[in-house]
């Protein structure tokens, strides 16, 4: 009894400290690491300073080839399928060249490149306007790995972030999505009516040491890695190929690169 009461008290002290200031909390947690509760990264978790993606668009000829990739994401994250386009929820989807890169269409473009299907998703921008717009910090850029992620519990559904994102990467749940999920993945939550959602770079998979679902399904056409590790696969591809990014002139510094 006594010892458990003591740990409860300890917990409260810890909580109060943690609320008052995070650095103090962290110091306390490490200092008393053996006795107090603490949080860690999983042993298998993949780590990076800034996750980034390189999509080799040359490997896709028709929209059909993107289907399994999009499907993998939809299944993993319980994405609902609505008939009504206005209610649509998208994490990763297919679009055409002129929509993906509206600011860089040259005249007399290679017809083949122009006809290719392009995969688009949240760019996990290094300078993300969506995060600055969010009044509740429900969406934020995670310091530990650069993922622009959402805490759905905090989202009040104001949709400022949707207005701020120049890529249309965010969707709003106008209705309860649950009845519209074709196949429920019971290991992952759904969302509720009234919150915004978008791609999370599969943060839940990275924590388990797995690559994002779309990367896994792409059979090598999409590569994922640390943008700030010169030895990473991503950096190697960027070094060896000419790549472009979406609406680069806006200065959001997208972390999704396209080989064209």
């Amino acid at each position: 009894m006594d010892s458990s009461r003591r740990s409860v008290l300890k917990f409260f002290g810890l909580t109060a400290l943690g609320l008052a200031s995070r650095p103090v909390f962290n110091a306390f947690a490490t200092e008393h690491g053996h006795s107090a509760m603490h949080f860690e990264k999983g042993a298998k978790a993949l780590k990076a300073k800034q996750w980034a993606m390189v999509i080799d668009t040359r490997k896709f000829e028709s929209a059909d080839e993107l289907e399994p990739i999009i499907e993998a994401c939809n299944k993993a994250h319980n994405i609902p399928q609505f008939e009504n386009k206005n209610h649509e929820i998208k994490w990763i989807w297919e679009t055409e060249y002129h929509n993906a890169f509206p600011q860089s269409p040259n005249r007399f473009l290679s017809e083949e490149a122009e006809q290719r299907p392009y995969l688009v998703l949240c760019n996990h921008c290094e300078n993300p306007p969506c995060c600055r717009a969010c009044p509740t910090q429900a969406t934020f850029k995670r310091e530990s790995d650069g993922i622009v992620i959402m805490d759905f519990h905090r989202c009040i559904g104001c949709r400022f972030c949707m207005a701020a994102c120049p890529f249309g990467s965010r969707s709003f749940n106008f209705r309860d999505p649950r009845p519209f999920i074709p196949e429920l993945n019971k290991d992952y939550p759904t969302r509720m009516k009234g919150v915004v959602e978008k791609c999370n770079f599969c943060a839940e998979r990275l924590a388990k040491g797995l690559e994002p679902a779309c990367v896994e399904a792409s059979e090598g056409a999409i590569v994922f890695g640390d943008l700030y590790d010169p030895e990473s696969e991503v950096r190697k591809l960027l070094r060896e190929n000419y790549t472009i990014r979406r609406k680069q002139s806006l200065g959001t510094e997208p972390c999704v690169y396209y080989i064209v």
Binding site: S4, R5, S7, V8, K10, F11, T15, G18, H34, S35, A36, M37, H38, F39, E40, K41, G42, A45, F140, R142, S144, D145, I147, I149, M150, D151, F152, H153, R178, L184, K186, D187, Y188, P189, T190, R191, M192, A203, A207
Partner: protein, 129 residues
């Protein structure tokens, strides 16, 4: 001072009426909730923290878990005894407490607490509600 009896009478009526919810419900208290531990939870013997703590503070602990998982990308919880758990309501808590209706709902209903956990987190015992 001639109105004394009226004043006192009026006061009495007021107090009786004011206390209506108390005497009306006297002796009709709902029985204390009796959450049922699943076989799995019984077998495990211990929750991630001591039972008294969990009873009183599980919501705060879940809040801390969420903060750690979403904001700091730390998904493993190490309790004061040094035991490690993956912080996940859906995949860790519900793994043992696999019957929401007989466990979570019991107290929440009793205390009239309307949690919104299940708007997003899936009650795996039943799957889709």
């Amino acid at each position: 001072m001639n109105d004394k009896k009226y004043i006192l009478g009026g006061l009495l009526i007021f107090i009786v009426l004011f206390a209506f919810p108390f005497w009306f419900n006297l002796g009709k208290a709902a029985p204390a909730p009796n959450p049922v531990l699943s076989e799995k939870a019984k077998a495990a013997g211990k929750c991630v923290m001591p039972t008294e703590f969990m009873r009183a503070e599980h919501m705060k602990l879940l809040g801390m878990w969420r903060r750690s998982v979403v904001r700091h990308a730390k998904r493993e919880f190490i309790n004061p005894e040094g035991k490690q758990y993956t912080m996940s309501l859906q995949n860790t808590c519900l793994n043992c407490h696999d019957n929401k209706a007989k466990f979570c709902d019991k107290c929440h209903d009793y205390a009239s607490v309307d949690v919104y956990c299940w708007d997003c987190h899936i009650d795996k015992s039943k799957g889709e509600e």
